[in-house]
Amino acid sequence: MTFSAEKSNMIEFKDVHKYYGDYHALRGITATIKAGEFFSLLGPSGCGKTTLLRTIAGFEGISSGAVMIDGKNMEGVPANQRPTNMVFQSYAIFPHLTVEQNVGFGLRKDPRSKAEKAAAVAEALEMVGLKGYGARAAHALSGGQRQRVALARALILKPKVLLLDEPLSALDKKMREQMQVELIKLQRQVGITFILVTHDQEEALVMSDRIAVMFDGQIAQLADPETLYRRPNSKQVADFIGTMNFLPAQILAEAEGRVEVEAQGFGRISLTADQVSVAPAGANPAIGFRPETLTILFDGQQPQDRESMATVEEVVYYGDMTYYDIKLDGTTAPMRLSMRNVFGRPVLDIGTRARVAWSPGALVLFR
């Protein structure tokens, strides 16, 4: 999904700071989330992503800056008057109520008639695939069902923004993958802005239109999933999202938007400016690449671009994939390389020499 300029801003963070005593939890967050966007806050635990989400819901105050929802400053607006609803990590299903009563809880002060409210509840339950579950006791539901009840309970109020605090972390892998797809579909169907907090990079990549990667109370990079994966703007982001291999490099020359680099194992290469990212202060420049961007060439296959020689150090079979740890000639550390087992796989013994194909366009320079 792409976003044109006319999409209005739903959430704006303006230099948001949050202190807990001496602890600086949010350090100057400035970001804009567009209406109708599926937006993720991604980061390791303790990075401030949940705190940031809770400042939107109104469960956390902020120390300075501003949080705007749909153009209105939310300062002093309590949680129960904000146009947002939340799906909690624990789901927070009221255990003493039925599924129906849970879903209809937010309609208590709704002026509509009882029958209209009941219809709205039934509609919400159908939307999340729980048709006919209305009379069940909430505490007897499975994890996935609780999740759906929590979704229906939040969406029935037609909020401007739906906040999801690690909603899938308590589910098993299969269920989680299923719910990811359902959530994407649901978001398209209702068209509400979804903001997801997650520590699972894969989940964020799968579900989001845009992702804000957070470290230490700051947004490290805000971009669409592909940019984030292919062009992480720092080594920290690259390390957090997927696997990235690093090889020491030397910058030889810079001119007209191109950088000439001498990299271990790859030799002399020329990169464009958009392939250049930030390394941590004091670190030496390095070339980074994803495991799937290198390919082992078998039986006279020809490389599409460049070719290097390497020694196989480890082979790990994963069913659909095989991981190889290889050492490129002229390098000291093994690199991870992954290949799909489309037509089975030739068996490579440890210590075998192999030809490896690569392309300068898939490399990132961290400097």
Binding site: A57, T84, M86, A92, P95, F105, R153
Partner: protein, 268 residues
Amino acid sequence: MKGGWFRVYTLAYLVFLYAPIALLPIFAFNNATTVAFPLEGFTAKWFAKLWEEPELHRALRNSLIIACSSSVLATTLGIFASRASTRYRFPGKAGLMGMIMLPLVLPEIILAVALLAVMLGIGMPLSLFTVILGHVLVCTPFSIAILSAAFQSLDQSLEEAAYDLGETPISAFRLIILPLVMPGIISSLLITFTISLDEFIMAFFLAGNENTLPVYIFGQFRFPQNVPVILALGTILVCLSIALLATAEYFRRRGIAKTGGKDTGGFL
């Protein structure tokens, strides 16, 4: 056989605990004024005699007033304290909660004497009211122990979810928190009622001219011919206590089942 000695030990332990209580009904129905074997035939006359003791009725009425008042007061205080200790963080909380729970382990006679001294010092006449004060002091820690467990097992996001869905802190408390801790509240009411009903020391020191049931019973032992009547009364009280505690435990467990929580052990 290793288990053999363990079984003997367990049996001996249970006999030690319950044999005296089992003797109560045996002698309560025995047709003799002395508590001794052999038994001399079945009679219900000691129970009938209970109806002819106006002093006993007055003591019972006093005890019920005291037990009802102090269980309600102690449970109310317990709700405040448990809510504060489980929901909020404030400096000195651990120390403060420790101080509140201390009467649980403090020798009751010391508390009673101290309270008596204070009452006499400020010139408050001894009455049922002073006994209620003493019993609230004794019962509140029990109430807090029960209710803290109930409040602790509540997921804090339940309350936030209620705010999020448009409720105020007060309506969220009423609609979500209160129903979920209600089994704990009922359990606390029943247990503190039972504690107050058979509490002796505070009542003995603070009741003034009034009698409570335990004080009355103690007084009756001066008259040997009344002992079987007391045993009959004791039989009734034991049955009543067991019923009350069983009810309390039932509510506690139902609360756990209702919220889908884990049983972390209770008083029973």
